[in-house]
Symmetry: C2
Subunit: 489 residues, 2 copies
C-alpha cells in the first residue's frame, strides 16, 4: 500500500477508534512480535526519546505513528521501568496537537530540573505551503506523568541551518545547560552538531557547530548524543551520507560512536581519542541510539531497531520496528563495550546446561538467551531459528583459528530484508582466542553480544514460526547455557 502525504498527515482525530483497536490487535498477535523488548502497540516506532531517570523510575519515550508502518505524523508515547527490563506502558505523552508541532512531535531528550522532568523535542511545524520550521520545544512532566507544553519554542532555527535542525539533547554540565542539535548547514549542505548554552534554560546562546576535526560528517547528523562513559566523553550520532572512506558501514545510514579525550562545550571543540568514529552496532538494523548518564553512575543506551527509508516484512501486518534491550556502556582499554543490564537475568527460566552438543535444541521457542563459550582454533556454523535440515536458518559462521572472524548471514533465515544493503555482516576477531557469545532472540529480533560486549550485532529476521531448531553444523568444542525468556510486554 502506498501512503500519500495526505494519509500520513491525517490528524489522529480523523481516524476511527475501531481501526486503531484492530491495528493494536494485529500488532499484538503477530508471530513476529517480540515480548521482552519494547515494540509498537500499533503502527510504527522509531527513535527512542527522553531516556532518563526521574521520580524513582526509568523513563523512556518513543517516536510513534499509531496508524500504520510508515513515517506519518509523529507523537511520543511513554514507558517506565524500575529496572530497565520490566517496562510498563504509560500511554500517549506528547501529541502533535499544537501549532508548534502540527506536523509531528519529533525526537528529543529529557532532563530532571526542579522536581519536573523537562522533555525537549523538535516541534515539526509545517506552514500552509508545507514549508518546515523546526521548533525546539521544552515541555514539562510532573510526578503524576502529566505533561504541559509551552506556548513558544525555546530555540528557533538560526539562519545558517537548513530545515534539517532537530533532535535536541538537553543536559547540564559544569553548572550550565547545553543543547546538542543535529543540523545541516544551509549553504554547504554538510552535517553538524550545533551547540546551545544557557544559564537559566530560558535565554539560549548558540556556541556554534562542534569542531570534530578535518573530516566531513556527511550531509546531516541525526540524533547527536553526548554521554560520559568511565569519564570519557562519547559522542553517539548518525552521520547520514558519511563517506565510507572515513568509517566503513553497510547499513543505509550509520549509527556511530566516537570516544573523546575531551569535549569543551563552551568552545564547541571535541578532542577525539579514536582517530575516527566507529559503528556502534555491527548488525543490520540499529539506528538513533540514545544514551544517558543515570544516577547509579552508569551510562545506559537503547537503540531503535529499524532504519529510515527501509521496509520490513511486518509492514504487511501494519506495524514496524522495535527497540533493542538497554545496554550498559563501558570503556576498557580505550574501546567501547556494551553489556546487557543485570535485571535481564530475571527473565531467564528453564536453564539448559550445554557442553559440546551438536544439537542445542529441537524446539527452542521464540524467546531465549543462549550464552556460548567457543574454544579457540576451530571454525563452523551455528544455526538459529532453523528448520530440521539446517537449510533455512539464521547462520552465525565463526572462525576462532587463523583469520578469526564472525559472519552473521540472514540470507536463508526468511524473506529478504532490505537486500540492497547485503545479507551478511562480518566482525573481525583476534586469531586463536576463545569466543564468547551472548545471544538474545525475541520473536523476529536477535541481539548478539560478542566477547563480553566488545561488539554487539543487532538484527531482525523473519523465520517461519516452526523453525525453532538451534544446532551446529558439525562437532564443536564449547560450553554454554540456554534459557527461555519471560514475556514482559
Amino acid at each position: 500500500m502506498e501512503w500519500t502525504r495526505e494519509q500520513r498527515y491525517r490528524k489522529y482525530k480523523d481516524w476511527d477508534a475501531q481501526t486503531l483497536l484492530d491495528l493494536q490487535a494485529q500488532a499484538a498477535t503477530s508471530p513476529y512480535q517480540m515480548h521482552y523488548h519494547i515494540h509498537p502497540l500499533s503502527g510504527l516506532l522509531n527513535d527512542p526519546n527522553g531516556f532518563s531517570y526521574y521520580n524513582g523510575e526509568y523513563h523512556l519515550f518513543c517516536q510513534s505513528y499509531p496508524f500504520g508502518p510508515v513515517h506519518g505524523v509523529k507523537s511520543w508515547i511513554h514507558f517506565a521501568s524500575p529496572d530497565l527490563v520490566h517496562w510498563h506502558y504509560l500511554g500517549p505523552a506528547i501529541d502533535p496537537d499544537s501549532d508548534l508541532d502540527n506536523a509531528g512531535a519529533y525526537s528529543g531528550s529529557a532532563m530532571e530540573h526542579n522536581g519536573k522532568l523537562l522533555l525537549m523535542y523538535t516541534g515539526n511545524h509545517r506552514d500552509e505551503d508545507w514549508t518546515r520550521i523546526p521548533y525546539q520545544v521544552i515541555a514539562e512532566m510532573d510526578e503524576n506523568n502529566h505533561i504541559t507544553k509551552p506556548d513558544a519554542a525555546a530555540i528557533l532555527p538560526p539562519e545558517h541551518v537548513s530545515e534539517h535542525f532537530r533532535d535536541p539533547q538537553l543536559f547540564k554540565h559544569d553548572g550550565k545547560y547545553y543543547v546538542l542539535l543535529g543540523a545541516q548547514d544551509a549553504e554547504t549542505k554538510s552535517g553538524h552538531i550545533d551547540i546551545y548554552e544557557s544559564d537559566d534554560l530560558k535565554t539560549w546562546h548558540e556556541n556554534g557547530y562542534l569542531d570534530l576535526g578535518k573530516d566531513e560528517m556527511g550531509y546531516m547528523i541525526e540524533c547527536p548524543n553526548l554521554v560520559f562513559v568511565n569519564n570519557y566523553p562519547v559522542l553517539i550520532f548518525c552521520p547520514q551520507g558519511l563517506d565510507k572512506a572515513i568509517s566503513d558501514y553497510q547499513n543505509i545510514y550509520p549509527n556511530m560512536y566516537w570516544i573523546g579525550k575531551d569535549i569543551n562545550l563552551n568552545e564547541a571543540k571535541f578532542t577525539p581519542l579514536q582517530s575516527h568514529p566507529a559503528n556502534l552496532d555491527d548488525g543490520f538494523d540499529v539506528y538513533a541510539t540514545q544514551a544517558f548518564n543515570a544516577p547509579d553512575g552508569n551510562a545506559y543506551a537503547i537503540s531503535w531497531v529499524g532504519l529510515p527509508d527501509c521496509t520490513y516484512p511486518t509492514d504487511k501486518e501494519n506495524w514496524a520496528n522495535c527497540y533493542s534491550q538497554v545496554k550498559r556502556l563501558e570503556i576498557k582499554d580505550g574501546a567501547l563495550y556494551q553489556h546487557p543490564v543485570d535485571a535481564i537475568k530475571n527473565l531467564r527460566h528453564n536453564e539448559t546446561q550445554l557442553n559440546d552438543e551438536k544439537i542445542i535444541s529441537q524446539k527452542a521457542g521464540k524467546q531465549y538467551e543462549l550464552k556460548l563459550y567457543l574454544a579457540a582454533g576451530q571454525a563452523g556454523k551455528l544455526h538459529l531459528a532453523s528448520n530440521d535440515d539446517l537449510s533455512a536458518s539464521l547462520v552465525i559462521d565463526f572462525n576462532t583459528a587463523q583469520d578469526a572472524k564472525l559472519t552473521i548471514d540472514r540470507a536463508s533465515s526468511g524473506p529478504a530484508v532490505n537486500p540492497d544493503y547485503g545479507a551478511t555482516r562480518t566482525i573481525g576477531l583476534n586469531d586463536n582466542e576463545d569466543l564468547d557469545l551472548d545471544i538474545f532472540v525475541d520473536g523476529s529480533l536477535c541481539e548478539i553480544f560478542i566477547n563480553d560486549g566488545r561488539h554487539v550485532a543487532t538484527l531482525r529476521f523473519f523465520a517461519r514460526s516452526s523453525n525453532q531448531k538451534i544446532a551446529f553444523d558439525k562437532d564443536t568444542k564449547y560450553t554454554g547455557r540456554l534459557w527461555s525468556m519471560n514475556s514482559i510486554l
Copy 2:
C-alpha cells in the same frame, strides 16, 4: 456526565482515534492507577473471562468498554502471563462486530481442545426493537492468538428462561463437555445455574437447573463457575438479590462460594458440604470472580474489583475498575483459603524488617506489600495511606483478645465510595489468637489476606497522593516485613 443508551452503544468505528488515545493517556497517568494489577488501558473493565492455560502461558480476557467509565457495548481484550503475575497485553480479542454479538461480546470462559483455545461467551444480540437474544457462542483461538468466530450460536436460549441467560462456563468432566449458564427463570423470575451437556461440542442437551437445595438463590445468578479444590467441587457465583437471611452480605450484590461434597452434572444435583454459601471476599468491591483448574494441579481465581450499578471516583477520569491479583485456592479443614501466587514475591524489593515499631513508614509509596504478625491479646488500629496525624487514613481496627475481630474502615480514607453499602466491613476472628495479615496496596487498590488466606478483604480507596504514612495508633506487639512492589503494567 450522563451517558445515553445511544452513546453507550455507539459503534467503536464511530469514535475517533484521538479520543481513544486521550482516554488511554488519562487512565495511564491517573494518580489512582494500579501498576501491578490488571487495569483498563482506557474506559471500563468488568468480569474476567477465559481464564485458562494454553500454549505454554496463562491467558486472561477481560470485559472491556474502551470509551468511558460506563457499561457500554462490550468487547474482550486479552492478556497473557508466564507466571500469573507478569501480564502482557495482547490487544483486543473479541469485538462486538457480528450479528450474534451486535450489542456486546459478554462474559464467558475458555477451554483447550484439539490444539485450540475455545472461547465460549454470550453474544448479546439486540433486535431492532431492542429485544435481547442471548446467544452462547464458541469462538476458537489458535497458537498465534488469532480468534475465529462461528457463524451460529452453540446454544440458543430455552423457552423457560428470561432474557437473563449468560456467562457460559465450558469445561470437560468425566469425558463429557459441560456448560454452566447463569439463568433467570422466565416464570418465577428466580436465579439458577442451567447445565448443558455434549459429547462432541456440537450437539448440546440441556440437563436443567442445578439443584442447589431448598433455598432460593435470588432473582438471577451471574457468573456461575465450578472449580475443583483439593477434590471438592466448589461453586463460585453471584446470586443477585439473595435473601440476606440465607447468607449475609453488605455489597450491592454478593459474590459467593459454596463447597460441595459432590456434584452430579448429568443429574444436575449439587450436594453441599457447607449448609449455605459464604462470601468469597470480605471487603467492599469484589464481584464476578472466575476460577479454573490449571495443569499444575492448582485452582486459581481472579476477581473483578468493581460491582454492577456502582460508581467510583475515577469515573471523573473516564476509567473504572481493575482486577484482583490471582489467588490460589485451597480447602483445609472444610474451609476455603485464598493465597497469593508464589511469583508475586518476585515483585518485592527494598525489604524493611519490622518489630513493634509504632510508625512503620512515613512515606511508603503507593505500591507495597506489608506482612504483619500481630500478637494475641491486644487491640488497636493500623492506619494505611495516612496523613501525618492519622486523621485521614484507611483504618484496620484489630482485636486479638476477647470478641476478636477485624474491622476495615474506609470512611476517612478519601472521597466516599458507594456509601449506601456502608464504609466498614468486619471479619470475625478466634479469640486470643495471633493474627496474620498480608496486605497488598497498589494505587487505589488494597487486598488484605487474613490468617493465611482464610479470609480475603479487597477494596478500593482514594487517598490523597501525599498520604503515604503507615502507623499504629499506639504501641503494638508484632513482627513484620514491608516491601516496595515493582510495576508490571
